[in-house]
């Protein structure tokens, strides 16, 4: 995530304060005209943004495809994403191309249909692996976003609100990690502690998902923390916080009813953008061989396998890359649209 986004997301928070203030003014003046609520206004603006809506629809479609479509496709095709078909090779000894029928060695006399061909010379179904890879990518990206944003919001808003030693520690830690070659650390951690965590799946997640979730959360909370700190720092000097303090509200009450509502907009915007960056991170780590390990499919390790055959089967590298592009593009477009919807005055 680029440092530049910090300022932009900040703007969304300030815009919300403005929008709310404007709203209550209208409500006071004309009582019989029902004023539009804040969320209704945001939704109306977002609905007009065709591109953002397209992004949102794509995301829903992709998630459905990954979690509902994959098992259905498996049932229709009659084989799983990890099944090996040594027959799925062409005359040159390379993985077979798209749209091909191959003999099923487990069930002689029957043919198996490989929509996008085989993933490697081991002959797994590339199409099913893409769908199941989507599951893994979404699980990692959504969990890591949840983890990093929870830590980031908690620490960032505490640092911004209480100042003092909490702020010192949080700011220093984030500064240190900004100067870290953090990718090296992520790779080192993933390859050292990763193996022992690979089998923790809680029965629902793919293998290696928990491990990446932990590592990406640990290294991902700095940006949200900095953004939240900056937003809260400006909020705590606002008149309404001062007024609340004057009438004797406790810190907890001020945070809950005066600060948190203003953080919702930047959190939502940052969440969408963060999912996109974690999907890229997962694919990158798996490509380097430290993320999701084979035989579990992920877009990253599909890309890695494809690079072995890119002169003979270039299609293999197109699919996972396109999948990553489509997904991150959808999240980025939705994120930009949401930012504009929350803060119509911001310029991009």
């Amino acid at each position: 995530m680029a440092p530049g986004t910090e300022k932009e997301v900040l703007g969304a928070g300030a815009g919300m304060a403005g929008a709310v203030a404007l709203e209550s003014g209208v409500e006071l003046g004309e009582i019989e005209v029902k004023a539009r609520g804040y969320w209704e206004q945001v939704w109306r603006r977002l609905r007009k943004d065709k591109i953002a809506i397209a992004g949102g629809v794509t995301i829903i479609f992709l998630i459905l495809g990954a979690f509902v479509g994959a098992p259905i496709a498996q049932a229709i095709l009659g084989h799983g994403p990890d099944d090996l078909f040594y027959t799925a090779m062409n005359a040159q000894g390379q993985p077979i191309g798209p749209l091909s029928w191959v003999d099923n060695p487990l069930n002689p006399g029957h043919k198996v249909f490989l929509l996008l061909g085989a993933d490697s010379t081991l002959g797994r179904d590339e199409f099913l692996r893409l769908l199941y890879g989507a599951q893994v990518s979404f699980e990692v990206a959504l969990l890591a976003t949840l983890g990093s944003i929870s830590i980031g919001v908690l620490l960032g808003s505490m640092a911004g609100y209480f100042r003092g030693w909490v702020d010192t520690i949080v700011s220093r830690v984030t500064e240190i990690t900004m100067a870290f070659p953090s990718l090296l650390f992520i790779i080192a951690l993933a390859s050292t502690i990763g193996d022992s965590l690979n089998n923790i799946t809680f029965g629902i997640f793919g293998r290696g998902v928990f491990n990446l979730f932990l590592i990406l959360s640990i290294f991902g909370w700095f940006y949200p923390a900095r953004i939240m700190r900056a937003v809260v720092l400006s909020l705590r000097e606002k008149e309404f916080v001062e007024a609340a303090r004057m009438v004797g509200s406790s810190d907890w009450r001020i945070i809950r009813s005066h600060i948190l509502p203003h953080l919702v907009a930047p959190i939502i915007v940052y969440t969408t953008l963060s999912v996109a960056s974690f999907i890229i991170a997962e694919a990158g780590l798996s490509y380097l061989g430290v993320g999701i390990k084979l035989p579990t499919a992920s877009w990253g390790n599909l890309l890695q396998q494809a690079s072995d055959y890119y002169t003979t089967q270039p299609w293999l590298m197109v699919w996972p890359g396109l999948a990553v592009l489509l997904t991150t593009l959808a999240f980025n477009l939705l994120g930009d649209g949401l930012r504009d919807a929350f803060d119509p005055r911001s310029t991009h």
């Binding site: 680029a2 440092p3 530049g4 500064e175 240190i176 900004m178 100067a179 870290f180 070659p181 953090s182 990718l183 090296l184 650390f185 790779i187 080192a188 951690l189 390859s191 050292t192 502690i193 193996d195 022992s196 996109a276 890229i280 694919a283 990158g284 490509y287 380097l288 430290v290 890309l303 494809a306 690079s307 890119y310 002169t311 270039p314 590298m317 996972p320 890359g321 990553v324 592009l325 991150t328 593009l329 980025n332 477009l333 310029t347 991009h348």
Partner: protein, 326 residues
């Protein structure tokens, strides 16, 4: 001072992470049928039989450029910082890092020039003509650039330009100065790096086009630009000394920060194109549980990032007279 604390923190963290490794480097050194005796000797030789803080202390002592104070306590002895020897091939880490650093430096700085060459004209022109065809194309480029995976861009470029068209070499690195065979010298160096540069620059070019466009548009709306135009200043002068000067200030800061971030991103480009740079060295070292080499790369990269930040701060104060160094 702050940079020094940072530096120590980074080295300690690497040590702790690697202490968590279940593999024993001494066992690896002895091969498959390791005897207890051999492991013990190897562990002693590598120094891994001592406690963590002793290992770290020795490492830190070697790293410091000052070996100790002289007899009269006033003249410190200076020495070259030493990163130790690799666990796997016993080469000095200094030589490993120094061999790999020019490759990564060529990639990162060449890539930075590449992305600025794309981002500056495109960003400025699309800010001057918002909603024009160029602006729309640039926005699509930005979206694809920030959404596509760098590895994928690299593979596609390698396939179409390197393999299909055969215009550029796909792998290999040629030294800038020392020619070996027909591979060497500035021309071959640049020729072999075109595809890695393009791959590397793609993401950052996209980010910078967006940032430069936003900055220039913001500066164009400022009061001082209107004043300058009202006074009848020619458009190129307004652009040069009012708009660009203000719009490009943040770009300088970003550039310094991003070159630091890019050192990490170089890992992907290096592994796609098989460049023997720092990133590839680090990955190999991590896979072999080779702590000294990993540590060496991390220390070196951190040092570079800290230095770059410092240079950017100084540069910034020089460009923008409003900022005073404290």
């Amino acid at each position: 001072m702050w940079a020094f604390v940072l530096f120590i923190a980074v080295t300690i963290v690497t040590y702790v992470i690697f202490y968590a490794i279940p593999a024993n480097p001494a066992r690896l050194a002895c091969g498959q049928r390791a005897t207890a005796e051999c492991i013990k000797r190897a562990a002693h030789y590598l120094g891994t039989d001592r406690p963590l803080y002793v290992q770290y202390g020795k490492f830190f002592g070697r790293l410091m450029p000052v070996a100790g104070l002289g007899p009269n306590n006033f003249s410190p002895h200076f020495k070259t910082p030493n990163l130790g020897r690799s666990f796997t091939n016993r080469l000095t880490v200094n030589s490993v890092v120094l061999n790999a650093a020019p490759v990564t430096a060529s990639l990162v700085f060449g890539g930075a020039v590449f992305w600025m060459l794309i981002a500056l004209p495109v960003g400025i022109l699309s800010a001057l003509r918002p909603r024009s065809l160029l602006d729309r194309i640039a926005m699509v480029f930005v979206l694809v650039g920030i959404s596509a995976h760098p590895v994928w861009i690299g593979l596609l470029l390698a396939y179409f330009l390197g393999f299909k068209a055969g215009v550029f070499p796909i792998t290999g690195y040629c030294d800038f100065i020392n020619p070996s065979g027909n591979c060497g010298g500035p021309v071959q160096w640049a020729y072999h790096l075109v595809l890695p540069w393009a791959t590397f620059a793609f993401l950052f070019a996209a980010l910078y086009v967006r940032m430069i466009r936003a900055n220039v548009m913001e500066a164009l709306g400022e009061d001082y630009v209107r004043t300058a135009r009202a006074k009848g200043a020619p458009e190129w002068l307004v652009m040069r000394s009012h708009v660009l000067r203000n719009a490009l200030l943040p770009v300088v800061t970003m550039l310094g920060m991003d070159i630091g971030i890019a050192l990490g991103g170089a890992i992907f480009t290096e592994s796609v194109f098989g460049l023997p740079g720092l990133g590839k060295t680090a990955i190999q070292a991590i896979e072999n549980f080779d702590l000294p080499t990993t540590q060496g790369v991390v220390v070196f990269a951190t040092l570079c990032i800290i230095l770059l930040t410092l240079v950017v701060d100084l540069l910034y104060a020089w460009i923008d007279p409003r900022i005073r160094l404290t």
